[in-house]
Amino acid sequence: MSISEEVEKPGDLSLLITDDARVKYPELAKRDSLELYDAVGREIRARGLFPVRGQDFQVKISANPQLSPGEKLVRKTLSVCNECRSLIRAIVLERDNKIWIRKACPDHGVMEEIYWGDAEFYYKKSMEANEGHGIENPYVDILNACPFNCGLCARHRSHTALLNLVITNRCHLGCWYCFFYAQAAGYVYEPTLNHIKFMLAAARRQKPVPAKAVQITGGEPTMRDDLIEIIRAAKELGYEHVQLNTTGITFMFKPDLARQVREAGVNTIYMSFDGVSPITNPKNHWEVPYILDVFRSVGMGAVLVPTVTKSGNLKEVGAMVRFGLKFNDVIRGVNFQPISLVGRVPRKERERLRVTIPDVIKAIEEQLDGQVRMEDWYSVPITIPISRFVEAVTGKPQFTMSNHFACGTATYVMQDRKTGRITALPQFIDVYGLSKYLEELTEYIKRGGSRKIAMFKLLYKLNSFVDWKKTPEQLRKRKRLLRIIYKIFVKHDYNALGEFHYNSLFLGMMHFMDEYNYDVARVERCDIHYVTPDGRVVPFCTFNVFPEIYRDKAQMAYSISLKDYLRMKGFTSMAAERYRRNIRKLEAGEPYRRYYEGFWDPSQLSYEEKKQISMRFGVPVVED
């Protein structure tokens, strides 16, 4: 009798779990039942997958950080020690018109890190903070201090706005900084399709608002042969928005896969793009033009995702916006991510690399000659009055983006086709005015006012929030903008948002945290989550900041060894899966010139220099 036949009741789960709390994954996969994935998940959590105090983390809140003369206290919070990563006390303070976080560890002393590079902007954005729904049915009991109790637990304040689903840790690149991909980690994590269904269903269980948007990620998700089935499963389970996070390189060779992905239900590709030159973007600089051409041919939208560093690509943020606008027919957005410095990064190195949200926004303003201003950016929770208003009208809990105001900001920009002038949405829509008015109407309905009258009032007043003289041509024609807003508020037709997307470029900014700037007040509101193989839902900034407790611990527990994977596949090494770049061929193609013309002149570097850049980054180069 095989182990899988023996496992009939929960008591037998021991046959699927080793003494050191690892799953015998081949056996579990053979059995492949949703109930069993659930039962094994619960059991393995009880056996040590869930964080254990003293073993996985420490709490040391006996020391209090102090203010120095000339500093102003903004608020108190909790953070983690840079050295021992224990939970410790912290203060957020203002000095020299900047916001800092200072923390005190009883064992490792006082430490400080920049939090937001502009105090005035911080205070303005704090006015946009707003509360979401949280969750009514926590997944785990409160056993530990936050952030060592994920999750989600009863303390958590945001439901999932975007769920990340890791479907493999295999990757066709080998970026030098990544320790997560299979070759570096030494194991392969690749849940079965049914296991993935269990995970997707787990995140849909959230009340009052189930997860509605999922990002399929890796490793490199296109390395799985059953990617299309996974996308279909997400759609069937009720995910309205499915996006894929990829280097895009696979689509260059398999354009038909892009079509299938689109047809299966992926609306957007999130694609790494760190700049317009190979120096700033060694990862996929040469491939991006070809990938974007494929996306255009199948009607797929892309959001470019640059990780921004002070010494690296901060100087190119304006160019990246221009690039997005120039190819706005296929690029729907640029989502900047100021670098998160997880792991041991010495102070000097942090100072060289660190940028915060206001720094990037200022750089964009400077590099675009003031066309996208600092005041054009809003904190993500500014959208909550819209959700509340729709909620009041429909009587149904709505999706709210209630992350902490300091986590992310966004805006929309448009370019006038004739003049080339760039305009940001807040330059022609009074965002505060509209948001305040929606709050008033929501109150009116809550106090028993008629929904119909509220809608009527809104329609009557909408026009007064728009400055038509400043509205770009494409939205001014036949008052198209009003029709889009009407569809969103009156018809609750969120596809209208898509229509808006097609006429503009979304600019987003999210600063994922690291241990140096960690703020527990932020993470308890996090709305970007991961689902773990045991069925928990874990905020991004605990999953990735404490990989030894969450990401790696969970994925390793459900993995198979690299050796077993190679044997299964009949490979001798993972080299067979590795992408090799042909720089000469890529640069010779027409798309390369078409996309980069005006952004980057390839003659600035010799072939040898380019080859070195690619190889140093981790992508081998071939010549024929």
Binding site: I61, I142, A154, E524
Partner: protein, 133 residues
């Protein structure tokens, strides 16, 4: 058994929430429940975690929210007892026209606390001869 009771005056503009929590602990002596006096203690990690276990589900606040709040005055009492007892925390929701609710639990039962409206709590406590406050 060691137990914590909390008095908290809380105002947080992030949540637009404001409430006042007070508490009383009644221990059984023979057939009656009588109110106990606690000893004041400083907030440490045990106190903070205990707070979250009781209140986070009902009040949507964690210890970090108390630190973050515009105004938060937290006073904690500790009780040591071996006999059955009932802990009652009263919450006056200032941002909801001073609506009152109660969080009640039997300290030795291991059952999770109940979050009750005033009439239900009055009825429950009357079974034990405990007056509402």
């Amino acid at each position: 058994m060691k137990l914590f009771g909390y008095n908290l005056d809380y105002e947080n503009s992030y949540q637009k929430w404001s409430f006042l929590i007070s508490h009383k602990l009644f221990k059984r002596e023979g057939e009656r429940y009588i109110e106990m006096e606690g000893e004041a203690v400083e907030v440490d990690d045990e106190v903070a975690l205990h707070f979250e276990k009781i209140f986070s589900r009902y009040l949507k606040i964690a210890y970090v929210d108390i630190l973050n709040a515009d105004r938060a005055d937290l006073k904690v009492s500790v009780y040591y007892l071996d006999e059955p007892a009932i802990m009652v925390h009263k919450v006056v929701w200032r941002h909801l026209d001073n609506k009152v609710t109660y969080i009640v639990y039997d300290v030795s039962s291991g059952e999770p606390p109940q979050h009750l409206e005033e009439p239900e709590c009055r009825e429950l406590l009357s079974v034990f001869g405990i007056p509402i406050f």
